[in-house]
């Protein structure tokens, strides 16, 4: 009973974050696309926790842990592309502010 409920929740979370793929497709900005990848990453962590609970397998939680730890990495690589050759820091250039 509870197992089914957890899998139902996993399905619902998966389908709701999948909706964000529309943003990744349409954009318009690269930041928008990046954000939907982040949403899928954090949703993926949630789904991993739900499957771990449904199957009562704590080892699956480690996948959620790794996703939580590394989900921000692509976003960091992305913000580095703000300058040529990717050396800059997004906070360093205030002159082209908005």
């Amino acid at each position: 009973m509870m197992e089914e409920l957890f899998m139902l929740a996993a399905l619902c979370v998966l389908l709701s974050v999948a909706g964000a793929l529309y943003r990744a497709w349409r954009g318009p900005g690269r930041a928008d696309r990046m954000m939907s990848a982040q949403l899928i990453g954090s949703g993926g962590g949630g789904v991993a926790v739900l499957i771990a609970a449904a199957r009562r397998e704590p080892a699956i939680l480690d996948v959620a842990l790794v996703l939580a730890l590394l989900a921000a990495f692509a976003a960091i690589a992305f913000v580095k592309t703000i300058t040529r050759d990717g050396a800059g820091d997004p906070e360093a250039d205030t002159e082209d502010g908005r």
Partner: protein
């Protein structure tokens, strides 16, 4: 259904709701920064509800600790990444 199971089910519903709301926000909000609000806030609340539900289901203190760690890491990473993406999205090139 026991009381714990009812609470777990309610938490699962809450978790799903916030993930859903986060997606709706990302799809509907008018500009990139508003969309970032939806991603950062709604998502973490969804994960929190799910993590508590899973903790109740496992019913084990150590696993609850690991779940708390997962949530805290996600919270920290989301808060930091949100600031960086928000700053990067200020540059006209990334917004186009």
């Amino acid at each position: 259904m026991s009381v714990v199971e009812l609470i777990t089910a309610a938490l699962l519903a809450i978790g799903v709701f916030f993930y859903f709301a986060g997606t709706v926000g990302i799809l509907r909000f008018p500009d990139v920064h508003s969309r970032l609000h939806a991603l950062t806030k709604a998502d973490n609340l969804g994960l929190m509800a799910i993590v508590i539900a899973a903790g109740l289901h496992f019913g084990d203190g150590w696993i609850a600790g690991k779940l708390a760690l997962i949530w805290l890491l996600a919270l920290f990473a989301a808060g930091m990444a949100a600031q960086l993406v928000a700053r990067a999205a200020l540059s006209p090139e990334h917004n186009a």
